[in-house]
C-alpha cells in the first residue's frame, strides 16, 4: 500500500509540475497571440531585446518602449532582458525568429559579433531596428535603422562646460586633475564619452590622470573612486560616464571625508556625469553635489514606434535618428556652451 501511495505522490507531483507549466503558458496567451491564426494578421508583434537592467537610464528606456507599444492595440511587444550578455541577446533574437515576430528591436550590449544572427533575421525576412548602441557589422543593410544619442556630442558638451566653468572661476588648464570613471568598456556610450573628454583634455592641456571602468554601476563606481582617492591626492574633477557611477563616486568621496561640489579652488571635488534620468541624481545636481549632467534621453519608445509605423506603411525611414538632449546644471556661471559651431543653452536646475 505504501508503494501505491508513493507512486500516487509522484504522479501528483508530476501533475503539479505540468499544471504549473500550463498556467505559465496560459498567462502568455493573453499577451502573445502567436498561436492564434485569426488574429495573427491584425496584430504586429515586435520582439524587443534589451541588453539588461543595469541602470536607471536602462529601466527608463525599457519603460518607454513598453509604454509606447502598450498604448496601441495593433501592437504586441515581447520584451527580453539580455542581462548584460550578448549570448542571451542572440538566443533571444533566435527565439523571436522562431516565434515569427514581425519586427525586432535590438539594444545591443556590445558593438561586434552580430553578423551571423542579424543575417539569420534577414534570411527570415524580419527587419531589425537598433536602439541606443550601434553594431559593427560588415553589411550595414543588416539593420534598417538606428535610434539613439550622439554620445560623442554629449562628451563634447560636457568638456565644453568644464572648460567654460573652470575658465570662469579663473583656473589654469594644468590645474585640472581629472579622473574618468568609464562605462562598460566597448559600449557606444563609453567610447563616445571617453573620446569627447580625451580629445578636449589633449586640446586644452588638462591633466587627465586615469581612465578606469566603473561598469555603469553605483557599486563599481564607489569601489573605483575609493581606490582612486587612495592613489591620488590631487583629484579635483571626476568625470563619470553615467549617474549611477557618479552617485557611487560621491559616496566614496564623502566616505573619505571630502566634499563633492563645484568649489574646486577650495578643495571640493567636482563631479560631472551623464544621463539625467535618475531622480536622485537630479536632486544631487540641484544640491550641487553633481555639478553638471549632460542628458542622455532614454525615451526612445515613441521614436521607435514611429519608425516601425513607417516600415509598416512600406516607406524607408532615415538610417540614423538622433534624439534631442539637454545639459543640466545648478551653477549659473555658465549660460551657454558652444560645440562644433552650435550653441547649446544650459538648463538651470533650481531648488
Amino acid at each position: 500500500m505504501k508503494k501505491n501511495a508513493s507512486f500516487a505522490m509522484i504522479m501528483l507531483l508530476l501533475l503539479a509540475l505540468f499544471v504549473g507549466c500550463g498556467s505559465t503558458a496560459l498567462k502568455n496567451k493573453t499577451n502573445n497571440d502567436d498561436g492564434n491564426p485569426q488574429e495573427e494578421d491584425s496584430i504586429i508583434t515586435v520582439g524587443f531585446s534589451q541588453l539588461g537592467a543595469e541602470s536607471d537610464w536602462r529601466n527608463a528606456n525599457t519603460r518607454s518602449m513598453q509604454a509606447s507599444f502598450a498604448a496601441d492595440d495593433n501592437y504586441a511587444l515581447l520584451y527580453k532582458n539580455g542581462q548584460q550578455k550578448q549570448t542571451n541577446q542572440i538566443t533571444a533574437i533566435r527565439m523571436f525568429i522562431q516565434q515569427g515576430v514581425d519586427y525586432i528591436v535590438l539594444a545591443p550590449v556590445t558593438e561586434s559579433g552580430w553578423d551571423s544572427v542579424l543575417g539569420e533575421a534577414r534570411d527570415a525576412g524580419i527587419p531589425v531596428i537598433l536602439v541606443d548602441r550601434r553594431v559593427d557589422v560588415t553589411d550595414k543593410n543588416l539593420y534598417s535603422c538606428w535610434v539613439g544619442s550622439d554620445f560623442e556630442l554629449e562628451g563634447k558638451k560636457m568638456a565644453a562646460w568644464i572648460k567654460s566653468y573652470t575658465e570662469s572661476i579663473g583656473m589654469v588648464p594644468e590645474d585640472l586633475h581629472i579622473v574618468n570613471i568609464q562605462g562598460t568598456i566597448g559600449s557606444t556610450a563609453q567610447i563616445g564619452r571617453t573620446r569627447g573628454l580625451a580629445n578636449a583634455a589633449r586640446e586644452n592641456g588638462w591633466d587627465l590622470m586615469e581612465e578606469i571602468t566603473g561598469d555603469f554601476t553605483e557599486t563599481k563606481g564607489r569601489e573605483v573612486m575609493a581606490a582612486l582617492l587612495k592613489r591620488f591626492d590631487n583629484i579635483n574633477i571626476v568625470y563619470c560616464e553615467n549617474d549611477n557611477e557618479a552617485m557611487g563616486a560621491i559616496d566614496a568621496i564623502e566616505a573619505a571625508g571630502l566634499k563633492a561640489g563645484p568649489n574646486i579652488k577650495n578643495g571640493d571635488i567636482m563631479v560631472v556625469s551623464f544621463d539625467g534620468v535618475n531622480i536622485e541624481a537630479l536632486e544631487y545636481a540641484k544640491q550641487g553635489k553633481i555639478s553638471c549632467i549632460a542628458e542622455c534621453n532614454p525615451m526612445h519608445g515613441p521614436r521607435v514606434k514611429a519608425l516601425i509605423d513607417t516600415l509598416v506603411s512600406g516607406q524607408t525611414p532615415d538610417k540614423f535618428n538622433y534624439v534631442d538632449e539637454k545639459v543640466f546644471s545648478s551653477i549659473s556661471r555658465v549660460k551657454k556652451i558652444q560645440v562644433d559651431g552650435v550653441t547649446y543653452d544650459i538648463d538651470l536646475l533650481e531648488d
Binding site: E254, A255, G257
Partner: protein, 356 residues
C-alpha cells in the same frame, strides 16, 4: 621536553592556522607599508568624528562575514554540509526589510514603519528561509548543499518580486547608522553589532547544551538519537539560527547603501562564509567545531581582501589570489599532509641525534 609539548599543543590548536595566517598578513603589511596600521580620527561630511584606516576597514567590512560565520559553523557542525543560499537569503531578508520600511513605495518621503519592526520582519523572513532549508535537510534528508541550491537559484528572484523589481531608497538617515556611524561615536556601528552577536552566541554556548548537542548530531546521528537528542530538531534549529544571522547581515548590508541591488547584494558571500569556517580548522563534514576559530577565519579573509586591495589588485582578479591562499592553507591543514610532516620530523630527529 616541556617546550616541545607547548609547541605541539599550540600547533594542534584549532586557532593556530587562522592566527598564523593573521600574523603572516600583518607582517607582510608591516614590511610593505607600516602606514597600514595607522588609525586616524577625522570627521565625516556630517561633521561627526570617525575613525579611519585600514584596520578599521577590516573590522567594519568583515562584520557581515563574522556574523554569518557564527551560523555557518553551527550548520556545518550539525548537518555536515554548508548553506550556499546565504547571499540569496540576505537579498530576500533585505528586500523584505525595505518593503516594510518603504511600504511598497520606491521613493517615500518618510519611513512607513519603525526600523525595529522592519528588522523583526527581516528576522522572521530569514528564519523562515532557514527553516525551509533545515526541513529539506533534516526531514527529507537532502544534502545541505543541494537543498540550499533551491533558494540559491530562486532567492534573488524572490527578493526582486517582494519589491516589484523596484529599488526603494530608505529616506531616514537614522537607518544608515547600522552600517555606518552613530553620530558622536567614532567606531563603526557594525563592530558593536558583531560584538553583540558574539556575546549572545557565547552565552548560548555556555548556558545551553546547543554546542554539545550540535556536535553530537554532527559526529553520529544515530547515537545522538539513542542519547535522547532529536537530530531533526537540532539540524533545523541550526539552519534557523543561520537565518537569524542572515537577517542581521542583511540589516548591515541594506543600511550601508540605504537601498539594495538584488542581483549583486552579498554576492559570493556564501563562499567566503564557508571559507571562514574551513579556515577556522573546522571539518566541513561536521562534528566538532570551534566557533571562535570560524569568526577569526572570517576576519582573516577580510584582512586578506583589504591587503590585496592595498596592493592594487583589481576587485575582479581578487578571487585568483584568494584561491591560492586558500589552497595553501587547506593543504597545510589537511590531516594527510600534517601526518606526512610529522613523519618527516620524526625521521629527521634521530638523524640529528646521531650527528650530535
Amino acid at each position: 621536553m616541556k617546550n616541545q609539548n607547548i609547541l605541539k599543543r599550540l600547533v594542534s590548536n584549532q586557532l593556530f592556522i587562522p592566527l598564523i595566517a593573521l600574523i603572516l598578513l600583518a607582517v607582510i603589511n608591516l614590511v610593505n607599508d607600516p602606514g597600514f596600521f595607522k588609525i586616524t580620527l577625522g570627521t565625516n561630511n556630517a561633521g561627526n568624528p570617525v575613525l579611519s584606516g585600514y584596520l578599521i576597514t577590516i573590522l567594519d567590512y568583515g562584520s557581515e562575514l563574522g556574523i554569518l560565520a557564527i551560523g555557518m559553523t553551527l550548520v556545518t557542525a550539525a548537518s555536515g554540509g554548508q548553506d550556499i543560499s546565504v547571499g540569496a537569503t540576505i537579498a530576500i531578508a533585505g528586500s523584505a526589510m525595505l518593503r516594510v520600511l518603504c511600504g511598497g513605495n520606491s521613493r517615500p518621503e518618510t519611513i512607513q514603519a519603525p526600523i525595529i519592526v522592519a528588522f523583526l520582519v527581516a528576522c522572521v523572513v530569514g528564519m523562515l528561509c532557514g527553516a525551509f532549508n533545515g526541513i529539506l535537510v533534516a526531514v527529507f534528508k537532502i544534502q545541505p548543499m543541494i537543498a540550499t541550491l533551491i533558494l540559491f537559484t530562486a532567492g534573488r528572484s524572490i527578493a526582486a518580486w517582494i519589491n516589484n523589481n523596484e529599488l526603494p531608497i530608505v529616506p531616514d538617515p537614522k537607518f544608515s547608522y547600522f552600517g555606518g556611524f552613530i553620530p558622536g561615536i567614532p567606531i563603526p556601528t557594525t563592530v558593536f553589532i558583531v560584538i553583540g552577536c558574539i556575546i549572545i552566541i557565547a552565552l548560548v554556548l555556555k548556558f545551553t547544551n546547543l554546542g554539545l548537542y550540535t556536535q553530537a548530531v554532527g559526529i553520529n546521528e544515530s547515537s545522538a538519537r539513542l542519547n535522547g537528542i532529536n537530530p531533526t530538531a537540532i539540524k533545523v534549529l541550526s539552519f534557523v539560527i543561520l537565518g537569524l544571522c542572515v537577517a542581521v547581515a542583511a540589516l548591515i548590508k541594506v543600511s550601508r547603501l540605504s537601498t539594495i541591488n538584488y542581483s549583486v547584494v552579498a554576492k559570493d558571500i556564501e563562499m567566503d562564509a564557508i571559507l571562514a569556517v574551513a579556515l577556522g580548522g573546522n571539518a566541513l563534514s561536521g562534528g566538532k567545531f570551534n566557533m571562535w576559530a570560524s569568526i577569526l577565519g572570517a576576519y582573516v579573509i577580510q584582512f586578506l581582501t583589504t591587503t590585496l586591495y592595498k596592493f592594487n589588485v583589481q576587485s575582479d582578479a581578487l578571487a585568483a589570489y584568494k584561491a591560492v591562499v586558500v589552497i595553501l592553507l587547506v593543504v597545510f591543514s589537511a590531516p594527510t599532509v600534517r601526518e606526512y610532516f610529522r613523519n618527516m620530523v620524526k625521521k629527521l630527529a634521530p638523524a640529528r641525534k646521531e650527528a650530535a
